[in-house]
Symmetry: C2
Subunit: 412 residues, 2 copies
């Protein structure tokens, strides 16, 4: 298969599986697509596939790492509380108008390493506040959305520091194609089968209806309570607009909403976290009453602390996800420094905003009802990896019985 | 001077002269910058200059010719009346919030040659309607805005078809640097002097207060009435937000608002017009009572006709501009196929929307008052070139005296 063909297949999977768009079947929609400049070849393929699938207008919004860096280097200090609300409002309006959302990931994961953490925290907070209405529509899955990845030189350099740029980018593309499951005979059909498997796993967990999960591993001794009336999800979902979509490509997880007040104990991250341009390594936190009361990291600790200080909900959990250690991403042995991939190599938890879709009837609940069930609220949603071949996980039933769920990172 | 230094100077002129931004002097503003993907090196330089001049946030919005073409090739026919209103509203909101506007021109001037004219007309009309609130703020100069150019391979190919891509792009960059007046000792100071010269020429024309202009040349025999209380402008202006800006770089014109009902006779274009991706050559039109009653073109006639059919005002004039035939752009001998340059090589007229700033007191007039003075209203504003070394222009005073203004394309 040529590179062009693989790129075409990735675009096809992003549009047909990711966004679930089908000419003549789904209501014609606009598509808004964010992407790094260097991803233009994939953006063009996706644009073509989207139009062929009935898209009425595709609007690419390219970002440029250099322009972002120029801000940190040169912009007046007072300006870091500003954001482009006009764009955030435009995006929210697009979503309200049933525009599908495609995000091409691939920016430099370490772009902002070494930048002033206070400026980053202020800029992130301003952007999060402005984007909140749009992000709520994403977390509620009001519309069909998808994230897919493109190899870029800066990202490849971080993953393959000893290769030439050309070799590194080629290796990263191959890793993306393989883990995004586009190399088989019929990628779209294979994605549907994969999605079914994840949905079956979620159905099993829903049938068990555990009260909490217990994690044991190096540096980890955690009891994590699930929200009342929680629902496990995995694979594809039906968006609020009725379109079946696959939010993440790749995805290997089943996930649900933990109870915001019921995490107790210690947990240590098992992979570095690349968060908004900063690498955070060896996170160790202590939970009491669901809240992080101690937090450390061997690298990026200040960025972590500032993120935890964003708001009241930033120190509590919004998501728990289970991923077998033998997932294709984990099997690749690669550290991607990108959450889309790394979170699918390992069981993980997320600080911050919960998904209301992970509660039975959550879609129509008020904020008060969601809070009563234990769903967390925050401007942030930061996934980090806590699973590995050394971590065991048990399920605790409502009656208090303890059942083995994962041993050495694999499903029992 | 290295290429980098020239690029830096163009960016400096765009920010300090074009947008008039000065750290510590002008109110800190956001900047919204549109640009073709291939202009990223200039976009980065401008971003740096803008932050150094006090910009609070620069948002680049890149466009990709390939994605635009994919739409014409593959999108469903019914979708061509759609546009991204959400983006148009975001842009209007940005302008209302005092965001400065920078447009980097440089897309392929012949991009849409050969595409279906009906689809183009529908897409253009939908976009024009959505962008109207934002465009009104631009034509009223509510905010500081500027257009500057970057060389791109497709544009260079059209101008230098016999050169390699690399040679063509290099030649186009040199032409842009020279005509944008950034190669002198102190480009910012030289731009201020150039602006003064244009303002003096406008002051002379305002003092003469002609009733109409008479054009004579091959295929041209036109009497063009000026609006009542018209005002000639040229060079820099003070935007509604109080910031002195230079909308076009380069600019060589003085211009005003003609009377929408007072053009009579024949006029022939003297250069090809590149309009929204279509080349229109050898335009010949007949005016009666200010309205185009016959229109022909040797190439692109259908695109011209469809544009004329956009609305009632599309067949009437919204601008008249005088440019000496010896301007640096004209002297370069190059046909740029880009209105920003070609209109500054030649006297020209524009179909469609008039500038209210070209009427004494026009800024605060109602639509009815503007119409009474003769100012035209339309969704379009299309400049085309009617001056050359073979065209003579006279001014007709309010008392009916005829005074020579330009002979063989030069000021008398």
């Amino acid at each position: 298969m040529t590179f062009e063909e693989k790129l075409e297949r990735l675009a096809m999977v992003a549009v047909h599986v990711g966004l679930g768009m089908e000419a003549g079947k789904t209501t014609p929609q606009q598509v808004m697509m964010t992407a790094p400049l260097e991803a233009a070849p994939l953006v063009r393929k996706i644009t073509e596939q989207a139009y062929q699938a009935g898209a009425t207008l595709v609007t690419p919004l390219f970002s440029d790492d250099e322009c972002v860096l120029a801000r940190y280097r040169l912009a007046p200090d007072a300006s870091f509380d500003q954001t482009n609300e006009w764009m955030a409002e435009g995006v929210a309006k697009a979503f309200r108008g049933n525009t599908a959302r495609l995000a091409v990931a691939g920016g430099n994961p370490a772009l902002l390493a070494g930048q002033n953490p206070a400026k980053m925290a202020r800029a992130n907070k301003a952007a999060s506040i402005a984007m909140k209405p749009a992000m709520e529509m994403i977390t509620r899955h009001d519309i069909n959305w998808n994230i897919v990845a493109a190899a870029t030189p800066a990202w490849a350099k971080l993953m393959f520091p000893n290769d030439t740029e050309q070799e590194g980018v080629a290796k990263l593309w191959e890793a993306i194609f393989a883990t995004s499951r586009v190399l088989g005979r019929d990628p779209v059909a294979e994605w549907r089968a994969h999605s079914n498997n994840l949905q079956k796993k979620a159905a099993f967990l829903n049938e068990r209806n555990y009260k909490s999960l217990r994690y044991r591993g190096p540096g980890t001794e955690l009891e994590l309570g699930l929200s009342d009336g929680h629902k496990w999800l995995g694979g594809g979902c039906i968006a609020g607009n009725g379109i079946p979509c696959m939010p993440n490509i790749p995805t290997e997880e089943v996930f649900t909403t933990p109870h915001r007040e019921r995490a107790e104990g210690l947990v240590r991250s098992t992979k570095p976290l690349s968060h908004q341009g900063t690498l955070i390594r060896d996170i160790e936190v202590k939970f009491a009453g669901g809240k992080i009361v101690e937090a450390h990291a061997s690298e990026g600790e200040e960025a972590l602390r500032r993120r935890l200080d964003t708001d009241e909900g930033a120190r509590r959990l919004g998501e728990v996800a289970l991923v077998p250690h033998s997932s294709p991403i984990s099997a690749s042995g690669l550290m991607f420094y990108n959450t889309l991939f790394d979170e699918n190599a390992s069981s993980h938890i997320a600080l911050g905003q919960a998904y209301s879709t992970c509660l039975h009837g959550g879609d129509t609940m008020s904020k008060e009802e969601l809070a009563q069930r234990g769903a967390n609220e925050s401007l942030i949603h930061v996934d980090w990896m806590i699973g590995s071949g050394e971590v065991d996980i048990d399920g605790v039933t409502q009656a208090g019985a303890v059942e083995p769920l994962m041993r050495k990172g694999e499903w029992c």
